[in-house]
Symmetry: D2
């Protein structure tokens, strides 16, 4: 490798936490150390950047964190960083200790901040997609997504035990405000009768039709997975409408909520985070900036941050169809 374009870098996590963020931090710190860069951990995202909440990190600072959920650097949302003054403060903090490049781990909001900060002040930035929602373009999967899928699936597996024992109908809400990836995949994986996601044009009549089909085919208990961002109505409204149509149904609602964000990361997430943490540092060393590191078709790729924010991974149309075919 030719000489590195940066000597001192910082790493931060911002936005909602996701399992695997710690594995990414570890990879950034150790790769920097391996290539003899100085690496600073920045606490609480952009807030810490503005306040100079920096700690020098070496390989031992990240011992035994690869298997921990959450982020040891903590995360926070910052309104101040959305202002020019806030970013000016952040720039001065970087100047003070000579930080030339930043690795920003998070989602859309995190990347938007990084992009503007680079464009205004010239500090090099590379994004790493860390969010359970999988709604970032430029990578097949985001860090935390695979773990969240397994968490949601295991919860629904448990609910299924009760559903089956009591011949019940369960509406289960999973995370995914703008994207139905968690709902679609956990729904297929748990053999759900129906899956309601923002991406699918759908009416309550479709749902009722599926209930009728299930009844006819002898299915006595059913689970319907609903993405948080689904537009047909809240999960409680859906349950009520269903009860009105099928008065003999014994219906329950379960909202999986924040349990989906935590937990020890899966193997896939730890490996992905390790590859992206490495890739981000390598990218900075090569002089890259304003890009996001991702893995597509098993290759490390860099996507302009602007593109990563604007575009979206498309829902696999086949899988929507497969979900329907396998449901009954």
């Amino acid at each position: 490798m030719t000489e590195s374009q940066v000597k001192k870098i910082g790493v931060l996590t911002s936005g909602g936490d996701a399992p695997g963020m710690n594995a990414a931090i570890r990879a950034v710190v150790r790769t920097a150390n391996y290539y003899q860069l100085d690496c600073f951990g920045i606490r609480e995202g952009y807030s810490g950047l503005m306040e100079g909440n920096f700690t020098k990190m070496g390989p031992r600072s990240v011992n035994n964190i690869i298997n921990q959920g959450g982020t040891i650097l903590k995360s926070a949302r910052s309104l101040e960083f959305k202002t020019k003054e806030g970013r000016q403060k952040a720039f001065e903090q970087c100047q003070k200790i000579g930080i030339e490049g930043l690795v920003c781990i998070g989602g859309d909001g995190t990347f938007t901040g990084a992009k503007i900060f680079y464009e205004e002040f010239g500090i090099k930035v590379i994004g790493i997609p860390g969010t359970i929602d999988n709604d970032i373009f430029g990578t097949d999967h985001t860090i935390g997504y695979d773990t969240a899928l397994n968490t949601a699936m295991e919860a629904i597996d448990k609910i299924r035990d009760t559903a089956t024992s009591h011949n019940r109908v369960f509406f289960v809400e999973v995370m995914g405000r703008d994207a139905g990836f968690i709902a679609l995949n956990s729904g297929v994986a748990t053999g759900s009768l129906d899956i309601l996601i923002p991406e699918k044009k759908y009416s309550i009549e479709n749902l009722f039709r599926n209930f009728r089909k299930a009844k006819k085919s002898g299915k006595s208990s059913n689970i319907v997975v609903v993405a948080e961002g689904e537009k047909l109505g809240s999960i409680y409204e859906l349950a009520q409408q269903t009860k009105a149509e099928f008065p003999d149904f014994d219906i329950r609602v379960s909202v999986l909520g924040h349990t989906q964000r935590g937990g020890a990361p899966s193997c896939a997430d730890r490996v992905l985070a390790s590859r992206l943490g490495y890739g981000a540092v390598i990218g900075l060393m090569e002089g890259k900036t304003n890009v996001m590191a991702g893995i597509r078709a098993n290759q490390l790729v860099y996507t302009p941050i602007g593109e990563a924010i604007k575009k979206h991974n498309e829902m696999n149309g086949d899988l929507i169809k497969i979900a329907e075919i396998l449901a009954t």
Copy 2:
């Protein structure tokens, strides 16, 4: 063993399902087979008893169920069995195939039904305590309780990852309408700041005091576990009042709900269920009736069903105190 007092028995599960019920069914069926009794599985609790929904079961009927949550016999609540006419139908069904004894797996409601049925019609009954709530007198633990504790704890562990990463306060509701066992134990096990249970005299001021103490001691994130049946107000009200008192807190609510009922039973629950299933059949063979099989201080004991329903296991006072001491 002298000659058995019964030759044909039935087994049913009733009320809310609990992990380990299948292990209990298996133990009943295999113990009966071992002692050459005929054993019938009765589907959907007392409904199935009234409708004669019986299946002869042998050792192979219960293959590979010891590790499954829920109940293969299914469960249901029956209003009709609460009437004399309903129980008369049930008695006739028993007569038709010669069932002399019943093993009834469930909670309070299940036992009340069994007691009346025995007193009216003389069919011998033995109860097995199967409920995640642990609110049955006559046994140190009920079947399903240990599994539910682990399920609740694992969910709260995940929530803690997020709480810590974001310096948040979480109110987490766990099951336990009349008893705070799940809340108290899962709260201690997850290092919760406070635990709100029906058994504890308490005011919102106590809770606020604990928040203040935590702040002072440098704890930046906190979890409060709330039992379903807690009387201070709904978990959402508690969160609102707390927000009013501490406007800078970032507060979230999570209701664990039905996931706590399902899942593969823990080792302790499978062993408990195996011992109680065996104990129930042995009891019937010895002519016992109107009792519940339980394990106390590691010994199999039989408690009159009336007593099991009326009395309650007391919350361990020490543990409430320990919870407070260890919280900060």
Copy 3:
């Protein structure tokens, strides 16, 4: 879709079992039912094919199996099917009930059998890659691989608790006779000091060098992950040689063994199995034969079976390097 090229199909599992095989069987059966094909389950792989051990399967035959490890159709290795006579018998069984196409779930051995059977007798065959080893060309991942990774990783996480508490060195053997995928990925995911895989040219001196580096950097406990098929010597020999070089090391060996084959499949494996089960049936309906269904870059693709057997997925070179960089 134009008219289906087959009306009656069979499905079998063969070779070592893998988590997700049941999800694949379920997808085959339900897709067949959806498109009004007759579908027969063939028990115990090619043995059952020769003996006509067939059962007609409908959508309810595969209820509640998507979350189960192992294979409800059972698996077996058959010497007889390797003979012409054996395959002749199998062909006659197919003729007897009119089976025109077979879905064969398994690995290399399974596919070789399918290929010869098709070439000799013209029964259409489509393979589905089901093996934890991930050593099949034509698909990014094989069914069971992701689950096995998580199982191995979770076991190593546990071992790490003990290693850290006692400042110990652990050699851990994971599965993978011909391919180091499980070792490399579980090794990266657990922060192992070194990973020994058949694909990497390596000497015991490299390993010793890494131990010395770790010592210098202050790492007091270390885990070395070894693939079953590693050629430097058995894991016990490696441990002994290491002890001879570093007499003060407290060294232990752990062989993870068969636990890696079982367990509830991960979400990724259930979704993969669902897509491939669907894809195999669609393939047969379109008249495809002698191919394997796989997913590459998130697309369903069909690869000639001969190619799937002969070629191999290459180990990601980057990941080997990343493993080294992140180890210390």
Copy 4:
């Protein structure tokens, strides 16, 4: 509470690590803090005691460890502490900073050391039973035992998937050098055909008889759980002898090994550890010494250390019988 008999205490973990040790350390530290005692963490057991490897610990030193396996204080076996000279050094270290009482978390060996140390030098000692083997008198369960049971059971559940799919016989070795508690309970919980433990008089003929019975009753796959300390022969010898007797059996051996020692502690273990950590500090404050804190029949009790070492919990005879009855 009247005035405390001690003002400065130390806490150490020694012997094999067990899940829940960290929860016990946390409880000791926080209870000491609550009652305004000084508390020192002693690293690496008796070695650290001799070397004065002490750290003052406050409530924040034990943040977020309740859910971690292993021990943050590390553990070690010390030959030197078995000598008078070694213990003299330890005493001098205690004198230097004024430690009046020690909480010693571990098993038999740990307690023996503590007892002699107290008898020679008068430093008050209280033991906490921390070992997965459950072989300590004076407490219903030792810390770590419940977690180890679940770990062993989950591993055997996975093995069962493969056993069933291939009609195989598995011999599975679990930990327990002197006591068969893990084997007996995990064996019952997984529906094993037979369970070989040191406490049971047994011959290989008994085992063969059970295999024959299973065959006759139609069981096509079987698991035999063997305790490490079983005297009939090594697990490999048992497998060979079985193969000689039943040549058509497809037999595999699996040794669960060190995975059983690690992992996040179960809820029961965390609660037990919290109660015992509290109980040990309270005991020291009340002037108790040379005793072990335990929980029997849900009550905190103190047993003379000498008794805890000499006596043993008896294996539940009923459970051995139940295991046999339920096996087939």
